[in-house]
Structure formats: C-alpha cells, structure tokens
Symmetry: C2
Subunit: 144 residues, 2 copies
C-alpha cells in the first residue's frame, strides 16, 4: 500500500498540480479580499450570479452543511450583495439571489482572476487545446 508511485515523472506532475492549486487559492483569496469578501462569501456570490437558488442547493453545490450557508448569506445580505426571496411554489424554501450590486461585484471578481488567464496567454492555441484535452482526461470528463 505504501510508496505506490515511485515514478519521478508522475511525482513531478503531482507536485506541479499542487503548485497550481496553491497559486489558484492565493489569487482567489486575494481577489475576494479586494472586495472585502472572504473566499467562502466569494464562492457563494459566484454560484448565485450564475443562477439564484434555494439555500439547501447552495450547500450541496459547495459541499458544506446547510447551517453554514445561513451565516454566509446573512453576511452577504447585510452588505446588500444578496437577497432572500420567497419561493412561490414552496413556502418552506428561500431563494437566494444576487442584487444588482452583487452581480456587478461577481463580475469584477471574475475579471480579477487573472491566474489562469495571463499565464495561458503564453501558450499557443494548439498548446492550450492540448492542455485542455489532458486535463479533461485527467478529470475523467466526457469528451476525453
């Protein structure tokens, strides 16, 4: 069970991916902080910018407990970035939706995520296509 992958090439790729993950996180937190948001708040705002949804579904999307979402949406709502609306078809449900300002913030947030964009500019279209296909296969995605 131990030291299963002595292969140096594979280990290097694993380490490179670790570096990508670390850098991605730094950039994400930094971009969020520039708007005085925490990472968790930025993630919730981002999923809501794509599509308003019930509290419960936010939790499933972010893979956390529903009780956490209550607090995060509370803080976003207190800052006027998100609002809670009733669901006409089920009075138990509350739909969380971004305000206009919330949508604007989400947009600026995404623009700030230069991490993958700028480095990618150094790769040719053929190379980016190659990278896309390799990542797809690594993730076991359809079309790989």
């Amino acid at each position: 069970m131990s030291s299963r992958s002595a292969d140096p090439l594979t280990l290097e790729v694993v380490e490179l991916i670790g570096t990508v993950v670390a850098r991605y996180h730094e950039e994400y937190e930094h971009a969020a902080a520039q708007h005085s948001l925490t990472g968790a708040q930025a993630r919730v705002l981002n999923v809501l910018a794509l599509e308003p949804m019930p509290m419960r579904r936010i939790a499933r999307t972010l893979r956390c407990e529903p009780s956490n979402v209550t607090g995060i949406v509370d803080r976003l709502e207190a800052r006027g970035l998100v609002e809670r609306r009733p669901d006409p078809s089920d009075r138990r449900v509350k739909l969380a939706a971004p305000t206009d300002e919330g949508r604007a913030t989400a947009g600026r947030l995404r623009d700030a995520l230069d991490f993958a964009r700028e480095p990618l500019a150094g790769l040719s279209v053929a190379e980016r296509t190659l990278l896309r296909d390799l990542l797809r296969r690594m993730l076991g995605e359809p079309g790989a």
Copy 2:
C-alpha cells in the same frame, strides 16, 4: 478592464483548472480527516516530515501568521505527532519536529493522496511529459 478573455478555449481551461483545484482540496481534506486531522494540521505535519524547522519558518512556508502556527503545533503536539525542541544556537527558537508516529502518519497521508496519481495513470509517459511541460510553462518555472 471587463470581460478580457472572451476566448472560449481559454475559459474552458480556466474552468478545468478550477475543477482540478476543487477536487484536489476535497481529496486532501478527506485524507486528513481519515487521520482525524484538519487540512491545516496535515499541511504542517507534511512540511515538518520533510524537514524540522523553527515555528517562524513554518509560518512563512504556509504563508500565515506565526501566531496561528502556535495553535496548530499545540494540537499536533497534544496528539504526539510533533514535538518542540530547543535550538542550541539560539535560545529564542523552538524547532518543531515530527515524532516517529508523526512521520508514519505523514507517510500514510501522502499515500492517500491518490488524486493526481490514479488519473495520471491513464496518461502515457509522453502525455505526462507534455502535461508537465505545459504546467511548468503556465507556472513560469525554470526549464519551461
């Protein structure tokens, strides 16, 4: 400043990287939880398994405040995975080092990180080499 990268290919690669990051984190937290460790505790244990070091340097390595490290090492020490030793050359310094059990746990932890290893097994050596070079260039590393 807005919507700088309309290029669909680049956007897809960015999204794939986001997926890699999310999956990597899940696997990491899961592996840590299997040993009743938090992600932060697992990260500290891992860097110490490579090389014992002063508290201050752990903080620099993990890019957090030194005061945080105190608590994390406290908890690792309470569980017998890490110990604090005096530094003979400077009595202000405390060197954090893994115990035998800490080293063993770190080893098992790394084995559990199948994320990048198993999917990578589906790629040929040539493809892994290609992926390595693309990631290197993306990260602006030497040898790219």
